[in-house]
């Protein structure tokens, strides 16, 4: 890893996005609008207070996953990745550079989503907002790193789009939105304990409910971080300089 090449890559990715205002708008606003839609659907009920925190986990995660996986796939298909790998750019520099660039966007995106959910949609947060934001950002970064990992395996746009149902949907189904995780069949409950999105949703629910002890929330954050780091490490191991 080399800091100069890593930051050069981060700067380059952000400059590319800056030239595409529509992508910036979609990236920053779509999760917020979807949270608003969910709040509106349940406006005559109390359901939003129950599932609102999970929505903060869900939408940024999906959007960041999609955007990142397609951005890096495009790099492979236009030949710029081949050029970079023939240059002295480390594979870790490349992936960490992307993580940092999209992680920065994730901070802005999650901030807007949390602010909108709390102050516009009236989501009740009993715990500290700062901790809620931290979990939301970690969750969006997780989406980014899993997107990087998926694009290391995908060779075409068709494949990368189908990685979403494979990697993302099971985590949503088992994350406790449809049925609380402790009511799942034992096997599925055990599996859901290993999935990072479950921990993001648990943590956001705990902070929203204002639990007495935030220890488990920090454990959730650590698990999400471990998954994010693991995805980047695995991605850099699967990224080959020499290809068939």
């Amino acid at each position: 890893m080399n800091a100069r090449r890593l930051f050069a890559t981060t700067g380059r990715v952000l400059t590319q996005i800056r030239h595409d205002p529509r992508t910036i708008a979609l990236l920053l606003l779509v999760p917020t609008l979807l949270i608003g839609l969910v709040a509106w659907i349940f406006s005559d009920t109390t359901v939003f207070d129950t599932i609102g925190p999970a929505m903060i986990a869900l939408f940024p995660f999906i959007v960041m996953f999609l955007v990142t996986s397609i951005a890096t796939l495009r790099e492979r298909r236009t030949g710029t990745l081949e050029r970079l790998l023939a240059m002295p750019l480390g594979r870790g520099d490349f992936l960490a550079g992307y993580t940092l660039a999209f992680g920065g966007l994730a901070v802005v995106q999650a901030s807007i989503a949390v602010a909108f959910a709390v102050w516009v949609c009236g989501l009740e947060i009993s715990g500290p907002i700062g901790l809620l934001l931290l979990v939301a950002v970690m969750d969006a970064v997780l989406g980014t790193t899993l997107g990087l990992l998926a694009s290391a395996f995908a060779r075409t746009e068709f494949q990368v789009v189908q990685f979403m149902p494979v990697i993302v949907f099971p985590q949503i189904l088992l994350g406790g939105i449809f049925l609380p995780r402790d009511q799942l069949p034992d096997v599925l409950h055990a599996i859901s304990d290993w999935l990072p999105l479950s921990h993001a949703i648990d943590a956001l629910n705990d902070v929203a409910a204002g639990v007495a002890d935030y220890g488990p929330v920090w454990v959730d954050v650590a698990i999400i971080a471990a998954w994010a780091i693991g995805a980047v490490v695995l991605g850099s191991l699967t990224l080959r300089r020499r290809t068939p």
């Binding site: 100069r4 380059r12 710029t80 081949e82 050029r83 240059m87 002295p88 060779r155 300089r241 068939p244």
Partner: protein, 266 residues
């Protein structure tokens, strides 16, 4: 065609190189030597393995067996990555960055001095387009951006895959002049083309067909040995003298499955 020259005079030497793409062999036991400080042309029809050979030299191609030595080091060594400039066939630049932003990024990756961006902009006559998005340029201008990128950091070896395709004749002449200028300053160049009339512009020629080098000498020697007056018919003569192909290796370049999609392979 024995490899007897001193290592200091040799830019690339390849021996018994076998490469497979998909299920079919592309290079079968290829050997060649590229001297330093010359413009060496790699000519042959589309699909004969030029790109695969160049990818093997810059170290991004998986090879089955054989040795590739580049600038005295094994091909693909980490130490070679800032000594080789590589231009892929399709212009590999970021369409959503300006020309200058493209060059600045690759310059930082290479760790080349800040003034290098302006130097390569001038060398490729791209200064007027420097602030335009690469995606808004014409095809020829985009491939010049790709070439400018390869000149960053003053590499000792340039591997250029069809750099003059789609360029107007005036620009093509200018680029060949630049190649020779670089060679005079000690840079070694391997330039591929499927246009035979570019052959005479090279110091040395490698004629390639179906994964093998058929001829390796100067353009003058090619014409003299075949008794032809132009490179195209001389190349045909070389092929005719090779005799009929063995059944395993067709004469005509075949459409291989997955061949057109080579850039999508991971």
């Amino acid at each position: 065609m024995t490899i007897t020259a001193d290592v200091a005079d040799v830019a690339i030497s390849i021996d018994a190189l076998h490469v497979q793409r998909g299920k079919s062999p592309v290079l079968h036991g290829l050997r060649l030597t590229v001297p330093r400080g010359q413009v060496v042309g790699l000519l042959g029809p589309s699909g004969c393995g030029k790109t695969t050979l160049m990818r093997s030299i810059v170290g991004v191609q998986q090879i089955e067996s054989g040795t590739v030595t580049v600038l005295g080091q094994p091909g693909g060594s980490a130490g070679l990555r800032h000594r080789i400039g590589y231009v892929t066939q399709a212009a590999s630049v970021y369409d959503d960055l300006t020309v200058r932003q493209n060059l600045d990024y690759f310059r930082r990756v290479l760790g080349a001095p800040a003034g290098d961006t302006q130097r390569v902009l001038e060398a490729t006559a791209l200064t007027p387009q420097a602030e335009r998005l690469a995606g808004d340029l014409s095809g020829g201008q985009r491939s010049r951006v790709s070439l400018a990128t390869a000149l960053l950091g003053s590499p000792e070896l340039l591997v250029l895959d069809e750099p003059t395709v789609g360029l107007d004749p005036v620009l093509r002449v200018e680029l060949w002049e630049m190649f020779h200028r670089l060679a005079r300053s000690g840079v070694s160049l391997l330039v591929s083309s499927h246009v035979m009339d570019e052959a005479t512009r090279c110091d040395r020629l490698l004629l390639m067909r179906d994964g093998e080098i058929l001829f390796d000498d100067t353009p003058a020697a090619l014409l003299a040995s075949t008794g032809k007056s132009d490179a195209e018919s001389a190349f045909l003569e070389v092929i005719t003298r090779q005799g009929p192909p063995t059944p395993a290796r067709h004469v005509l370049p075949r459409k291989r499955p997955g061949h057109g999609a080579r850039r999508e392979h991971s």
